[in-house]
Amino acid sequence: MLAESLALTAALFIVGVIGVLIHRNAIIIFMCVELMLTAVNLTFVAFSRFYGTAGQVFVVFVMTVSAAEAAVGLAIIIAIFRHRQTINLKDINLLKG
């Protein structure tokens, strides 16, 4: 039972990672990051089924933090869009050395 759950979460996580790596659109990358967080949450839940409820407490925390992160991240994306009329990461390289 645990193995199947972990295989599912791993698959979800890898989908998220690949999404982050191959996409250029900030919103999509953002959604992929959320997907990775969800995969991790699922892992916690799966473990808590067998090893106690501490994992579920973590999930609550992760969801809180990701909600806050989503608020800040979306705000940044909107600000960038207002400035540059684009959210394509290829065109945003202000930190280039």
């Binding site: 945003i92 390289n93 280039k96 050395g97």
Partner: protein
Amino acid sequence: MLLQTALEAASQAAHPLSGTVAEWVWLLPVLPLAGFVINGLLSLNNAHFGPSDPNTAEHHPHPEVLDAAGTHGEEGGSGDDDHAVKRHRWAGVVSIVGPGVLIIAFGLAVAMWQAMAGAHPEAPFVQRYFSWMPVGSLQIDAAFQLDQLSMVMILVITGVGALIHVFSVGYMRDDPGYPRYFSYLNLFVFFMLVLVLGANYPVLFVGWEGVGLCSYLLIGFWFNDKANADAGKKAFIVNRIGDFGLLVAMFMLFANIGVLDFIGVNAKAVELGAGSALVTAICLFMFLGCTGKSAQIPLYIWLPDAMAGPTPVSALIHAATMVTAGVYLIARSAALFSLSPVASLTVAVVGAVTAIFAATIGLKQWDIKKVLAYSTISQLGYMFVGVGVGAYVSGMFHLVTHAFFKALLFLGSGSVIHAMHAAYHRTHSHEDAQDMRNMGGLKRFLPLTCGLMWIATLAISGIPPLSGFFSKDEILGTVFARAHGSTLATASWLGVPGGTLLYIIYGIGLAAAFLTAVYMTRMMLYTFHGPTRTGTEEENYLHEPSWTMTGPLVVLGILTVAGGWLNLPELVTDLIPLGPREVLGHFLDPVVGSATARITAGASHVPAATEEALILTAVVIAVSGILFAVWRLKPAKVPRKRDAVPETGLEGLVANKYYVDEEIDRFIVEPTYKVSRTFLWRIVDNGIIDGLFVNGSAALARAFGWIGSRLQTGNTGEYAWAIVVGVLILLGAFTLR
């Protein structure tokens, strides 16, 4: 620790000097230090730094106030308003404080001497004040030591010093830097007393460096003239070379016997091994320091230039006290030098060569102070011959008598220069006030100075019964005696048997004595006798100085006559009962007696007949030197300075001091400049330090920064790739391990 302190206290209590005035030994240097502070603070108020100050310029409209001779004591008496000089606001206070502290210190020194003469202490009286350098096994205390040797020195320093301070009141009367002058002079006396009172080499070294500093400050006292400032720098730099030697000697002493206080070194010196290479090296390094401070070959070159300072400074620092510090150091380290016949012979050889070398240069100098400067170098050479052959008492004896008669000669020349300068100042003339070619016949105008300087001249020439005769004769006699039987006679120096070498030194000493008589008589003849070359108008203004200047001259004259009584040889007291014999010898015996005994190695005295013959020879040589000078020199035929033609041939060689300064410039100074400019500046400094180190490290940092900045593409996707790849690598590393 407590026990040690208690033991020390017990040993202190047992010392015959504890509880006497000797407990106040700290006050001796503190007095002139207080004088330095007071005069120094006063010099800051209404400050005049040198003759070019606008306040004084209106009173000194003539360039001779800046002449290279650097003589400034003008207007002994009341002058007409044209020449009246505004004295420093605090000159009155300074005139009391400056000499006052020295007179009090001299009184204190005399009281200590009385206490010491009554107590006859065998061991030095050491006063510890605080622990100065407690570093591991190295324990250096700030401590003073009063013994017979330092007693002799402090009497000379404070006594002659007080006289010269009083003389300075008259000589420097109108100088705008009057308080500054006295503050430096007081500071010098402070450091000199620290030098002779220090109970260990580091404390001595503090005084040693301090007197060098004051020498520098006073040589360059009139620093507005570049030549004077250069002379000060030269003295300072040349002395640093010698000080390096003294430092190395101190390091070697500590490395090998682990102590630096005089009592400890005296006790442990034998552990170095008699005649060993180590003790020879220590002594030779120490002697290098002495050649610098006491102006011996090869480091004598600074002393003639040091005459750029005020004449009383030349008398106090560059004749009577500071330059004798080297002689004192060797007498103080007698326990070391007596262990090394080679080092002792080196000291004697260098002293003898310096004595004759400087004496020949003195023959052809025209500047009255230069004659005395070379005379000083020559006489210091005699002292080193004395301490070199282990006649520490004779060396110290000559040090004391030389302090008397050379201070008299210098102050006398100061009196002459003062008169000359005042005369030239009145007539608005630009002639050189120190050149003997501009003098002549001054006997008529300065009879007292002339008479006193003749006494000193006869004394330095070695005419009995003046002080110089006894001390010089004692040194020469001891050299002769050492050649007959001593550890020096049996040693060999660079392959030359010590006995032969000592005879040669004796011969050189006699020759130098002859030359001394010649050049001193020459100086007196050209200065005081024959026709007056100063100028007819100037003759109206030549006069004896005020009592503050003649008074010290008279006292020094008396000392010059009577100084020989300090150490009458047995032969003389047997012949004429003048007084107790060898007072100084008996007095100093607790300090240098054992070292002297080690060198004589039980050899018997020279027979009385030989000794009589030696004394007779010395007197005949001195008299013949004076007569030779009187016979050969024609003061009437000397041209004035402006009419003089430069000497040629051998005379030119001597008159130009054997071109030693020029050779040093050519072989040391110029190559140093060249190497500095081409190699050190362009290659080492510009190329390696600036190029490789400073700019090189900057370029290196920039290169790494450039590489690092290439990694920062600013592309978020690439960062994400980097993170993922990094994580995969880490995971792979952990799992495949």
